[in-house]
Amino acid sequence: MARTENKKISRRQFFFIIIQTQIGVGVLSLPFDLHQAAKQDGWISFVLAGLCIQLLIVAMWLTARQFPDDDLISFLPKLFGNAIGKLLSSAYYLYFVCVCVLILVLFGRMLHLWILPNTPFWVLAILLAFTCLYLISSGLLVMARIYTFVSILLVIIFLLLVSALPDIQLVYLLPVGQTPIPQLVKGAQAAVLAMLGYISFFYLYPHTKGTPAERLKTMSYANLFVILFYLFVVFVSFTYFSTSEITFVPQPVLYLLKAIELHVISRVDLFLLSMWIVSVATSFSTYLFMASKGLTDMFHSKKPSRFAVFSTTLIVVASLIVGIDEQPIDSFTQFVTHVSMVFSNVIPLFLMLYTVSIYRFIRRKRHGKV
């Protein structure tokens, strides 16, 4: 018991894993996506999305606390029996692989556009994927330490954005509340995509120290942090670019730093890009970890590294098939957005309803008989 307790991550590490997973590839384009959907009221959409995610977190917590020692892949069979459980687990595996592929192609596309127009995508894909494979093969505890360590970069990103504050015009946020509700909801959808990663709660929960209530509290703080961080990014982008200009710049965060010159760094955008790569790598690693851990557990194997290598190769090959041309990436993003709605929102909600009603009832009955 003492040994497993030692292998568990602390609540602080839990916090950093969550924020590093949630803040990822989407941070550079989030303000643009929000603006596309809801104009200058995009930030309202974003807050809306943040609140919905908080509700989802509570829902996931209600499910997870019924299974103090199991993560998603091992409690699904307990809930629905072996056949359906295995089916759902496989579906989740494919979902995580899809998200990994999406992260990889968006990453490749961004680097291709901004700094490495001549470097072939397969080089970038392999570099990122296999570095992350190396990271996850050391286990959750090492990952947690790395994630905690690299969170200092978020502070630097924040400070870089602060340097843009003298040039903002607050009037671009006004008038408030001119966007009709359907568009706000559409904006919220875009925001949820940028904040994906809360599903990792199911994987981290059993491996984190602390009482259930403490862990929920940490998770909520992490979510709050992510909301505030993104909100700041959105605020700076919305006020730096005018309402009509932002429709021309798909990566507003990078673009606004491109126009800033610090004393030591002439091209701040490239500096930010290199830190952003770390954020992408952490998100990618978490998904890769969830995918390969799921696969290992499904086969009850003692050799996790094989499954990790298999998953990474699968992801790299799939991402090469998708490629980094605009059209396929857009359709693939659409696809992953829809799939995510199901796997990150609908199913966790359903699991919660099922757990607190039917499953509790069945278990009580089963215990009663024994």
């Binding site: 470097t119 072939p120 009037v171 671009y172 005018s242 200009e245 491109k258 800033i260 010159e261």
Partner: protein, 373 residues
């Protein structure tokens, strides 16, 4: 086994260098100052100043500049033609100054800036200025004591910005106002003085929509205009006539440095056209006033009143000029949209802007008068 452990290390040394995206200094010619002029038949003529560094065996290499221009259908087309005239190719990613010829600026300038916005390598914090006459003349000047024309112009513009004669502008910063309806912008206006072989800062070129309106705000009025816009550099010095008769004398003038400004814009949207009220409160230090007697509160009140009257009159003139050339450089339209979205929707701002009533009222306060009375 140990041998195999070294293998990845050696491999990474070979593979992680990244051979695809190198841009080496030796392969390009750096351009620090460039400009575009309008040419015949709708073409554009670009001029670039290329800095060549001659390497020498000891000490820093000597710098030589080369000025090349070529005409073409678009800015990037001219680039091809310029490359055909120079050795290697030129690279604008370190551009410091971009000048726009007066005639060219009268067209839609977005078309000429598009290549900068689109290219990830371009330097968006390059300074922009409009040149009366042609850019070619301006960049061909050899200014004594200033070996680099790019440094000369940026230095000049920085100075004007610090003394509140122009706002902070660069290619990126004007983009918001270029594209946003209900907001126009200004750019510094320079002219070429061939006799003395220098450039002169003349004032602020007023833009209407995306093109230069053809009129500029003289530099004496630029300070008050920027203060009305809520912008203040390191200092904001103004010299105004107080008292005296028709034969002005140095004793009739006061020079003040505006230290603090509070601006309040309000819109009255009850009528068919909105009325705008600009309230500007200034607090200033007296820098120069030869007649003295600034210890008396009465005298100070008197001076304040006089300056207030003078500045309000000047503000009206500035606003008149802005309305005349249909340049909403104060961004009143965007503010109307922000605070009164309903009224904004009913109006076609571009058409009504020239006719709306704008009332400036300025309150002026002297807060200190240096170390003498």
């Amino acid at each position: 086994m140990a041998r195999f452990k070294l293998l990845p290390l050696v491999l990474s040394l070979l593979l992680l260098t990244g051979c695809w995206d190198q841009r080496q200094f030796k392969n390009v010619k750096l351009v620090l100052a460039a400009g575009v002029d309008a040419a015949d038949e709708g073409k554009v003529e670009s001029t670039v100043v290329i800095t060549n560094v001659q390497s020498s065996s000891e000490g820093p290499g000597a710098e030589q500049t080369q000025i090349v221009s070529a005409a073409g259908h678009s800015p990037l087309d001219t680039r091809t033609h310029i490359d055909q005239k120079i050795s290697k190719r030129f690279d604008q990613s370190k551009l410091h100054v971009l000048l726009l010829g007066e005639e060219l600026a009268k067209k839609d300038i977005y078309a000429y800036l598009d290549m900068f916005y689109r290219d990830p390598k371009s330097n968006l914090h390059a300074q922009l200025a409009v040149v009366g006459g042609t850019v070619k003349d301006a960049l061909s000047l050899s200014v004594s004591g200033e070996p680099r024309i790019s440094e000369y112009i940026t230095g000049m513009l920085t100075g004007e910005r610090r003394s509140t004669h122009m706002p902070n502008t660069n290619i990126q910063l004007i983009c918001s106002e270029l594209l946003e309806p209900g907001q126009d912008f200004v750019l510094p206006y320079l002219t070429v003085n061939q006799e003395e072989s220098i450039l002169e800062y003349r004032g602020l070129a007023l833009f209407s929509g995306q093109s230069y309106s053809g009129s500029y705000l003289p530099s004496e009025k630029a300070v008050l205009f920027l203060l009305m816009k809520g912008i203040r550099g390191a200092d904001a010095q103004m010299t105004r006539k107080v008292g005296g008769d028709d034969h002005p004398d140095v004793n009739d003038f006061i020079t003040v440095d505006v230290k603090e400004i509070h601006r309040k814009l309000s819109f009255d949207t009850h009528g068919s056209l909105p009325k705008v009220e600009i309230k500007l409160k200034m607090e200033a230090d007296v820098l120069e006033y030869p007649p003295n007697h600034l210890q008396s509160a009465k005298k100070i009140k008197e001076l304040e009143k006089q300056i207030e009257k003078d500045l309000t009159k000047e503000a009206k003139e500035i606003l008149g000029q802005l309305q005349e050339v249909n340049s909403d450089a104060l961004g009143l339209g965007r503010r109307l949209q922000a605070y009164h979205p309903k009224a904004w929707k009913k109006l076609n701002w571009n058409e009504v802007y020239a006719d709306i009533e704008i009332n400036p009222s300025i309150t002026f306060e002297i807060q200190s008068h240096g170390i003498t009375n």
